[in-house]
């Protein structure tokens, strides 16, 4: 952007980011992206409703910008995985990293709940029992200086 003329900056297309990943949203990497030992003991059946892995059936290891990644639908962002993934465990590892991310409360979508959710709901959703309820006192933001029309 710096070599653009002021006119171009004013009228040009804004800079577009093709992929917003979890690190970009958080401003840092999370330890479980780099250390497999932090996710190995997660019980996927216990972490999901029903008698099997339920919604995790649709979670698979993907590649984002050349790096293995799992998609976090709760913040619309990829969570990259930097440690070596053992063969034939690709989807299992992706699911465990995602569950660790969600249960840790690090998903950006979860962090927005405290301020923006309009209806009461558990902050950490269905992944952590007994998490605090947010959205009990929502007030719509008011634009300073704006008044409703007279009619």
């Amino acid at each position: 952007m710096s070599d653009m003329a002021p006119h171009d900056i004013g009228y040009g297309e804004p800079e577009k980011i093709q992929s917003i990943d979890a690190e970009f949203l958080a401003g840092h990497r999370f330890p479980y992206q780099e250390d497999i030992s932090l996710i190995e003991d997660i019980d996927l059946d216990a972490a999901t409703p029903g008698a099997d892995i339920n919604w995790l059936e649709d979670i698979h290891l993907l590649i984002e910008e050349g790096t293995p990644a799992v998609f976090d639908r709760y913040s619309n962002a990829f969570l990259k995985i930097y440690f070596p993934i053992p063969a034939d465990r690709e989807n299992e590892i992706a699911r465990k990293v995602l569950i660790k991310h969600l249960t840790s409360g690090n998903s950006y979508g979860i962090q927005l709940k405290e301020k923006h959710t309009k209806f009461p709901q558990p902050e950490l959703g269905p992944w952590v029992p007994g998490s605090k309820t947010v959205g009990t006192d929502y007030h719509a933001p008011v634009l300073e200086g704006w008044e409703p029309p007279a009619h």
Partner: protein
């Protein structure tokens, strides 16, 4: 008409909003982590408020709702792990946008039940209307009766299991996920599907555009047997598998942002 008893209590404000000031009725009988309440004389909003009060504020994890009376939009937006039993039937848009609950409905359901379901389990003992599991993203939806047209339209994940037959245009624009239909299906099965898998045990009246027979794998057998075992549905019937022919629509060449819409 008895089922409409609670609806007489509905009030509207000048904007047309229904029950803008409804309060939690707090009528449940609570015993430990379980609760039971009778919905006969409650409005839709009161029933949903009672459910949320129990699940989010009282620490209840197992709720039974008696006499739901086929009211619409019951059990929507429940975002926690819990068990809910509706003793009776639900109207339109029941159990939509849920994330975590395991719900048992002893009767039937109307249109668009479980639309946008994110995770959890819903078992419906009777029939379900059209658009069942529309835009569903995850979890298991089991219908022990029949389903109407366009079930699983725009489905983006999860598993829909139907023990009976299904109407026309089932799996229309299916994008991910699975449907297991044990009975017959109507015209246009899987029309314009992008991805996903449809298994059919009965006759297929006609296939939709770009829906083609798929090759059976061990993973298919494992999935079918596991789901039937979990929900105690007996031995699965012999099933045909259908997938997207990838001649019409698929996400391979789309922008990353558009690809995310179905993940």
């Amino acid at each position: 008409m008895a089922a409409l008893t609670g609806e007489h209590g509905i009030s509207y404000d000048a904007r047309g909003l229904a029950e803008p000031d409804a309060a939690v009725p707090r009528v449940s009988e609570i015993s430990g982590s379980s609760a039971v309440f009778d919905a006969k004389d409650l409005t839709t909003r009161q029933i949903n408020l009672e459910l949320r009060w129990l699940l989010y504020e009282q620490g209840i994890t197992d709720v039974t709702v008696k006499n739901p009376g086929s009211k619409h939009s019951l059990g929507v937006g429940i975002l926690t792990r819990c068990k809910i039993t509706f003793e009776g039937s639900l109207g339109y848009f029941g159990c939509g946008i849920i994330d975590g609950p395991e719900i048992h409905i002893t009767g039937r359901v109307g249109w668009s039940s479980c639309e946008n379901m994110m995770s959890g389990v819903v078992v419906i003992e009777g029939n379900a209307g059209s658009l069942t599991g529309a835009a569903m993203r995850g979890g298991d939806l089991v219908v022990k009766g029949r389903v109407g047209a366009r079930s699983g339209i725009d489905q983006k994940g999860g598993t829909i299991i139907v023990l009976g037959s299904a109407g026309s245009m089932n799996g229309f624009m299916l994008q991910r996920g699975r449907q297991i239909i044990c009975g017959d299906v109507g015209h246009g099965l899987g029309d314009s599907m992008y991805d996903g898998t449809i298994y059919v045990g009965g006759k297929v009246r006609s296939l939709g555009i770009d829906c083609v027979p798929g090759e059976w794998t061990d993973a298919d057998t494992e999935l079918i047997e596991r789901k039937f075992r979990i929900y105690e549905l007996g031995a699965p019937p012999e099933l045909q598998k259908f997938v997207c022919g990838k001649k019409l629509y698929n996400y391979d060449n789309l922008e990353p942002a558009e690809r995310k819409l179905v993940l």
